[in-house]
């Protein structure tokens, strides 16, 4: 009796709660006053808590820009660390509003898993890192090697394809997190560590003797990394997409974070539209017109974010390469703000 009443009451409470649901993501975020952003569990340069517990990094900056655009406060973000296993389910179940965790844009994730990739914030490719003492200079010499991989990533599948198509054998050592992969690689449990080239550079930067390890020249896959949201809420998807585009366009147009913090009328109409001093682009998104200015002011434009977190002046020291603006021979090409 007691049990049945309890269960009945529980069901009733649940139905009551169920009726109150069904809001758009934008409403949810504004009501909550906080953006929930899924990031990696700790990859220096992309997303990692610093010694004071503050999250910082390249992916983190995207979250902060979205929070600034939507809520007006770049610090109104709750960062939720996700692993390869939990990232998609967290997004699906609504635990997070967006995922910025160097996630590769693939067909099946976009179509089968029902996500909406909102653009590419980093063009990456899978590379290999080996100890210099191994004397290997090319990935094609790795026949029979033991390879550490992070499970749940596309690297696992690329790796299988690469060795298969080159007729080589290997021994995979699956590992859950980057931290453990790093320990195992340093202990010599595997000869090779493979993940996205940017991740390799970030990992190597954290080694005691980075000079003892080399990155092999081969890049065996295309890894366009970008933020993603749930399928079906197009308004929210547009907000995240155009926030990212705003960061990229800002660099192209030479608008820095400092400029965006105090927008002045410019001679270039696109700058005016971007910063909201002219036009009503923000209202079309369901935000106010200064949204992009706030997003850019949060941590600067794309170039500034890149330089501050992973650029050549940092310990990670990545060159712009493919991630330069199209005007500089790179792939960054934002659609126009018009």
């Amino acid at each position: 009796m007691k049990k049945s009443v309890f269960i009945g009451a529980l069901a009733f409470a649940g139905l009551a709660a169920g009726a109150a649901a069904a809001q758009s993501t934008l409403e949810e975020v504004t009501n909550r006053g906080e953006l929930r952003c899924g990031v990696s569990t700790g990859l220096v340069g992309f997303a990692a808590p610093n010694s004071a517990g503050e999250w910082e990094g390249f992916d983190v900056a995207v979250c902060r820009a979205v929070a600034a655009a939507v809520l007006g406060d770049p610090s109104a973000v709750e960062f939720i660390p996700t692993t390869g296993k939990t990232r998609f389910t967290s997004l699906n179940s609504g635990e997070i509003d967006m995922l910025a965790r160097n996630t590769t844009w693939t067909f099946s994730r976009d179509v089968d898993l029902n996500f909406e990739f909102t653009g590419v914030n980093y063009y990456d490719g899978q590379g290999f890192m080996v100890p210099a003492s191994l004397g290997v200079s090319s990935a094609t010499e790795l026949d029979g090697a033991t390879v550490c991989i992070q499970t749940g990533t596309t690297t696992e599948l690329n790796l299988a394809d690469f060795f298969r198509s080159n007729g080589m054998s290997y021994e995979p050592v699956p590992i859950e997190t980057n931290a453990e992969a790093q320990q195992q690689f340093l202990a010599g449990t595997c000869d090779v560590y493979t993940t996205d080239a940017s991740g390799l550079a970030a990992t190597r930067a954290a080694f005691p003797n980075p000079g003892d390890y080399v990155l092999l020249p081969e890049i065996v896959s295309k890894e366009p990394l970008g933020p993603l949201v749930r399928h079906g809420d197009n308004q929210w998807g547009d907000i995240v997409r155009w926030t990212l585009n705003a960061l990229i366009t800002a660099e192209e147009l030479g608008v820095t974070g400092a400029d965006a913090a105090n927008p002045v009328e410019s001679n270039n109409p696109e700058v005016n539209r971007l910063l909201g001093t002219a036009g009503t682009l923000g209202e079309m998104l369901g935000l106010d017109n200064a949204w992009a200015a706030r997003a850019i002011a949060a941590s600067g434009n794309y170039g500034e974010i890149f330089e501050a977190n992973i650029g050549e002046s940092t310990a990670i020291g990545l060159a712009r390469g493919l991630n330069a603006q199209w005007t500089d021979g790179g792939l960054l090409y934002s659609p126009p703000f018009r």
Binding site: V5, L15, A22, E78, S93, T177, A179, E180
Partner: protein, 433 residues
């Protein structure tokens, strides 16, 4: 008597000879060694093997402790100080022990965790030792709410009003149970649920605007280290006890449907590893909840571990129920007690007493199993070591010191509890004599 003897015998000794000391081989350490270490050839050989093993363990482990370094900024400095000697770098513990115990909990609020920790012992004392004054039980009842408020912070009135829900339920029950016990219980529960779902929020809101008693809010994500193991272990075991009792009664009952449900539930939970249940908590529980509702990972994990523990506790209590002689049930029937009265006054008090050692053992197992949450990326003691500490540039390469610390911490608690369980078993045994 002596006179007659003196005449009939040539010599009679008048005083007793003092007992002569036993032979050298039959006294003191020599005898002890002979009997306990070398009673036969094979025994002597085993002793030698044991001694050799201890010797090697000692010369392997001792320098590790004697050369240990307690003050260093990172592993490289540690190695510099040690030079060629082989030793432990306990500096990592020295630097990180607060993190290992409390995770990323805000340091200025550590006192809240510490008060909760000692409050827990005060709350457990009257349960553990029956000769303490019963007044302490009041604190035991209040403790869950106080500790929730202390650990997670926020307004004092939230937990206080949840507690008030129990009080409301209890008074409704007191009033209604004069008519019928079961109906009263049901009314009390419904009353409490109505209180929680409709009245709690507004009243707590009003109260906190009038008398704001607030602590800085702490997110579950910031709690870490051994604190998580403790919170999960204690909360799951205490929540699973009532559930376990109900399941055990359900499994023993002759209502075929209720019995069937309980059997299926218990066998299912006991048949799958805890880790799959944690996956459920982590990955798919949200699918079964109304769209848009989602709650804290910690709470989800507590729910799953509670369900897990309740199945095991149900089996222990079922053992206790089965151990009672049927005469007890029959006597209760003969007295004209109905089912719930019989259970409350006759069966459960005895069955629970028999089950206590088993429950304590389950608690030890559960407490150890809370380390599995590190697999679903929660930073408990093990997760803290595997994640942030081992991957930091300062300490990567340290291994033994951290695991030694973690094992020692668990050992102290689990061994202590198991000793208590033995004490309890002894005490209960004398009762039965």
């Amino acid at each position: 008597m002596s006179d007659t003897h003196s005449h009939s015998a040539a010599f009679v000794r008048h005083d007793q000879i003092p007992p002569s000391p036993p032979p050298a081989g039959e006294t003191g350490p020599v005898k002890w060694i002979r009997e306990n270490l070398a009673s036969s050839v094979s025994n002597a050989i085993m002793t030698v093997i044991g001694l050799v093993a201890i010797f090697y363990l000692a010369i392997w482990a001792l320098p590790w402790f004697t050369n240990s370094v307690w003050n260093a900024a990172d592993i490289r400095e540690c190695r510099e100080i040690m030079g060629d000697a082989r030793g432990a770098c306990f500096a990592v513990i020295e630097e990180r022990w607060l993190q290992l115990l409390f995770g990323f909990y805000p340091p200025e609020s550590y006192w809240r965790l510490i008060i909760s920790f000692f409050g827990l012992f005060l709350a457990l004392a009257p349960i553990l030792f029956s000769n303490l004054p019963r007044v302490l039980m009041v604190w035991t009842g209040l403790f869950p709410f106080v500790s929730v408020w202390l650990i997670w912070g926020g307004s004092f009135w939230g937990p206080a009003m949840v507690l008030a829900g129990f009080v409301v339920g209890y008074f409704i029950f007191r009033f209604a149970s004069t008519i019928n016990f079961v109906a009263g219980l049901a009314a009390g529960i419904v009353g409490a649920i109505i209180w929680w779902s409709f009245l709690l929020g507004p009243i707590a809101g009003v109260l906190s605007s009038i008398i704001p008693i607030e602590l800085a809010k702490v997110e579950s994500r910031e709690i870490g280290g051994f604190t998580i193991n403790f919170i999960l272990g204690i909360s799951s075991i205490s929540l699973s006890l009532p559930l376990g009792i109900l399941l055990a009664l359900g499994r023993q009952s002759n209502l075929f449907f209720i019995k069937g449900v309980c059997v299926v539930f218990i066998e299912f939970i006991r048949g799958v590893p805890l880790i799959t249940l944690l996956f459920v908590a982590n990955v798919i529980l949200a699918f079964f909840l109304p769209p848009g509702s989602n709650f804290d990972l910690m709470l989800r994990v507590i729910i799953m571990i509670t369900l897990f523990a309740s199945a095991y506790i149900a089996e222990v209590i079922r053992g206790g129920l089965a151990a009672l002689p049927t005469g007890q049930y029959e006597a209760a029937d003969a007295l004209g007690l109905d089912y719930w009265q019989a259970i409350r006054f006759i069966i459960l008090p005895q069955a629970l007493k028999i089950s206590i050692p088993g429950i304590v053992n389950i608690f030890i197992g559960l407490f150890k199993d809370t380390t599995l949450v590190s697999v679903i990326s929660m930073f408990d003691l093990v997760g803290m070591i595997r994640g942030p500490i081992l991957s930091s540039t300062d300490w990567s390469g340290i291994y033994w010191e951290l695991w030694f610390f973690a094992s020692a911490l668990f050992f102290v608690f689990c061994y202590g509890i198991s000793k208590y369980s033995m004490y309890l078993e002894d005490k209960l045994r004398t009762d039965h004599r």
